[in-house]
C-alpha cells in the first residue's frame, strides 16, 4: 500500500497538536518559540503533501515563503526576549504579569 495524502496530513496534524500543546503548557518562552516553529513546520508538511498530490508547485512556493518568514519572525521574537531579559531577568512566561487581564 502506498502512503496516501491523509497519512501525511495526519502526521502534520500530530506535529501541529504537539506544538500547540507545547505552547499551552510550557512556561519557558524559548521552548514556546520552539513549539511555534513546530506548528509552522506542520503546515509546511501539509502544504508539501498537498502540492505533490495536487501536482501543482504553488504549495512548495508557499512553503519557501513560510520558511523565510518564520526565520525572520523568530529573530524578532528572540530580540524581544533579549529586550525583556534586560529589564527583568527572566525568560519565564509566568513572571510576565505586570498587566492583568
Amino acid at each position: 500500500m502506498n502512503i496516501a495524502l491523509s497519512d501525511y496530513l495526519l502526521v502534520s496534524a500530530a506535529l501541529f497538536a504537539i506544538g500547540l500543546a507545547g505552547v499551552v503548557m510550557r512556561r519557558n518562552t524559548l521552548v514556546i518559540y520552539m513549539s511555534l516553529e513546530m506548528m509552522l513546520n506542520a503546515s509546511n508538511l501539509a502544504l508539501a503533501a498537498f502540492s505533490k498530490f495536487n501536482a501543482a508547485l504553488n504549495g512548495q512556493i508557499l512553503v519557501f515563503f513560510i520558511i523565510t518568514v518564520a526565520a525572520a519572525e523568530v529573530a524578532v521574537g528572540l530580540a524581544i526576549i533579549v529586550a525583556l531579559f534586560r529589564v527583568r531577568q527572566t525568560v519565564s512566561a509566568d513572571e510576565i504579569n505586570l498587566m492583568k487581564y
Binding site: L9, F16, G19, V23, T29, I32, Y33, L36, M39, L40, A42, S43, A46, L47, A49, F50, N54, A56, N58, G59, I61, L62, F65, I66, V69, A72, E73, V76, G77, I80, I81, A83, L84, R86, V87, R88, A93, I96, L98, M99, Y101
Partner: protein, 502 residues
C-alpha cells in the same frame, strides 16, 4: 504583464520604501549629532513627504484602469486604491502625533518601521491572494511588534511587545495551517479562483478539509482583528505601546485586516458560509460553515468587550476593550447581502479607525502632562485643555454611536445589513439585538470617561499647551466625523461607486 508595468503599478509602495530608506540612511549619516527633538521633527517631515508623494501616485492611478497581476497578487481597482489612501492618511496622522515628543532616541528607525507597517497594510488591502495576504500580514505584524516594544527600557512596553508577539505568532501558525488546507481543498491560492471551484463542485462547500481550513484561517484573522477569545494581547499591547503607536495598531492594522478578512470571506469562500440563524419562535438552525464561527465570535466579542471595558481604570485598556466590542459589531454585517454588507463594513471601519485614532491622539497629547494614562489622571482636564476635551467628547460620543455623529450612521448601516441577512428572514435578529443592547451598555463607560474629563475636581496645574502638530490633525478628524454624520450618504455613495467599479 511585464516587470516595467508592474513597477508602474507598484510606484506608490516603491515611493514609501524609498522614503523608509532615505530616513534610515539620513538619520545615521547626517543627523547623528543633532538634538533628538530636532531629529525627530526632521524625520517626521521626511516621512510625511514620502506619504504625500505616495498619495499623489495613488490619486493618479485612480484615473487609470483596473489591473490584476498574477493570480490576484496585486489588484488595482478604485476600492483598493481608496483604502490605500485611507491607510496613508492614518499613517500621516500617526506621524503628526509622534512629532512633538520622540518615542525613543532611535527616531530614524521609528519612522522607518511605521513606513514598513504602512507598506504591509497597503499590500494587504490590495491583494486577493492567500500567499500575498500572508506575507503582507507578516510584514505588518513584524513592524508592529517592534514598534510596540520600542520603549524597551520600560518594562510595560517590553511586556506588551512580548504578549503581542506570542499571540501574533500563534495566530500566524493557525492562519498558515488554515491556508494550507484551503489550498489543498481548492488547489489554488487566489480568492477568485477559490470562488470558481465552488461552481464546478457543489459538494465543495461541505468539504471538511475546506471547512477546517476556513476555521483555522478565521482563528488567525481573529487575533489580528482582536475578537474574543483571541483578544488577550490587545489591552496589554495598547497599554505597553507609546500612545501614537497604540493608535496606529488600533486603527491602521484594523482597517487593513478587516478589508482582507471581508475579501477572504465574501470574495473567496462565500458559498461555504453555512448558517447560524435563530428564527421565531426560537428555532435555531445551524449549518456548518464560517457563519456559525463568525456569529459566535461576534456575540462574545460584543458582550465580553463591553462588559470588560466597564471595569477598566486605564484609558488605553478601555479603548482596547471597546475596540474588541466594535470588532464584534462589524462582524455582524458580514452576514448581510454581499454588496450591502461590504458597504456597511467599509463605511464603519473607516469611521471607526478615524475616531479611535482621534481618541488615542487625545491620550498622546495629554498623558505626559497629566501624569499617566489612567482614567483618574484626566480628572477635570476640561479646565486645563478645553479645546481638547471638546474633541474627546466628539470622539467618545461617536464611538458610543450618538446621532448625528458618524459613528451612529456606521452602526445603523451595520445593523441594517445584519437585519437584511438571511433573505430578510430575520435569522440574525438575535445578533442585531445583542449588538443594540450592548451598544447601550457601552454608553455607560464612554460617558464615564467624559464625566471624569468634565465633572471631576480639577487636578492642579495651569493650562496645557497642545502642539499644533497634534491639535490640527485631531480637529480635522473631528470635522470629518461631523461631516460624515451630517452627510452619511456622501461616503456611502463613494464606497458603493467604488464597489461597482471593482
Amino acid at each position: 504583464m511585464n516587470y516595467t508595468s508592474l513597477f508602474g503599478y507598484l510606484l506608490g509602495e516603491v515611493v514609501l520604501t524609498a522614503a523608509a530608506f532615505v530616513i534610515l540612511i539620513a538619520d545615521v549619516m547626517c543627523h547623528r549629532k543633532d538634538d533628538v527633538g530636532a531629529r525627530n521633527q526632521r524625520m517626521a517631515w521626511w516621512t510625511l513627504t514620502g506619504l504625500f508623494l505616495a498619495a499623489v501616485v495613488y490619486a493618479i492611478q485612480f484615473a487609470q484602469g483596473n489591473a490584476n497581476f498574477a493570480d490576484g497578487t496585486l489588484v488595482i481597482n478604485p476600492l483598493n486604491l481608496f483604502f490605500k489612501e485611507v491607510i496613508l492618511v492614518i499613517t500621516a496622522i500617526t506621524v503628526f502625533f509622534s512629532m512633538e515628543e520622540p518615542v525613543s532616541k532611535h527616531v530614524g528607525e521609528y519612522y522607518a518601521m511605521i513606513l514598513f507597517a504602512a507598506i504591509g497594510m497597503a499590500f494587504l488591502v490590495t491583494s486577493e491572494n492567500l500567499l500575498m495576504i500572508f506575507v503582507s500580514i507578516e510584514l505588518l505584524s513584524l513592524s508592529l511588534y517592534a514598534l510596540v516594544g520600542f520603549q524597551k527600557q520600560i518594562l510595560r512596553s517590553a511586556e506588551g511587545a512580548m504578549k503581542y508577539f506570542a499571540f501574533g505568532a500563534v495566530s500566524a501558525a493557525f492562519l498558515l495551517f488554515g491556508l494550507s488546507y484551503i489550498y489543498g481543498a481548492t488547489n489554488s491560492l487566489s480568492l477568485p479562483a477559490i470562488a470558481e471551484t465552488f461552481k464546478g463542485d457543489p459538494l465543495m462547500a461541505r468539504s471538511p478539509v475546506l471547512l477546517i481550513g476556513i476555521l483555522f484561517t478565521l482563528v488567525g484573522f481573529g487575533f489580528k482583528i482582536a475578537v474574543v477569545p483571541f483578544h488577550l494581547w490587545a489591552p496589554d499591547a495598547y497599554e505597553g505601546a507609546a500612545a501614537p503607536v497604540a493608535g496606529f495598531v488600533a486603527s491602521g492594522s484594523k482597517v487593513a485586516s478587516f478589508v482582507a478578512l471581508t475579501k477572504f470571506l465574501l470574495l473567496g469562500v462565500a458559498p461555504a458560509a453555512g448558517a447560524a440563524t435563530i428564527s421565531f419562535p426560537f428555532t435555531p438552525h445551524f449549518t456548518p460553515g464560517w457563519a456559525p464561527v463568525i456569529a459566535l465570535m461576534a456575540f462574545i466579542s460584543m458582550v465580553w468587550g463591553n462588559l470588560a471595558a466597564i471595569t477598566q481604570t486605564n484609558l488605553k485598556r478601555l479603548l482596547a476593550y471597546s475596540s474588541v466590542a466594535h470588532a464584534g459589531y462589524i462582524l455582524v454585517a458580514l452576514f448581510g447581502a454581499k454588496a450591502w454588507g461590504q458597504t456597511a463594513i467599509y463605511f464603519y471601519i473607516i469611521v471607526y479607525a478615524l475616531t479611535n485614532l482621534g481618541a488615542f491622539g487625545v491620550v498622546t497629547a495629554l498623558a505626559n502632562k497629566v501624569g499617566g494614562d489612567d482614567i483618574r489622571c484626566f480628572a477635570g482636564v476640561w479646565r486645563r485643555a478645553p479645546g481638547l476635551t471638546v474633541l474627546m467628547m466628539i470622539f467618545m460620543l461617536s464611538l458610543a454611536g450618538i446621532p448625528p455623529l458618524a459613528g451612529f450612521f456606521g452602526k445603523f448601516y451595520l445593523f441594517a445589513a445584519g437585519l437584511a441577512a438571511d433573505q430578510m428572514q430575520l435569522g440574525y435578529l438575535w445578533l442585531v439585538i445583542t449588538a443594540i443592547l450592548m451598544s447601550a451598555v457601552s454608553f455607560y463607560y464612554y460617558l464615564q470617561v467624559l464625566r471624569v474629563f468634565y465633572v471631576n475636581p480639577a487636578s492642579r496645574g495651569g493650562p496645557i499647551s497642545i502642539c499644533p502638530c497634534q491639535r490640527w490633525p485631531m480637529t480635522v478628524i473631528a470635522l470629518i466625523i461631523f461631516l460624515i454624520g451630517w452627510y452619511p450618504t456622501a461616503l456611502l455613495d463613494w464606497i458603493q461607486g467604488f464597489l461597482q467599479r471593482v
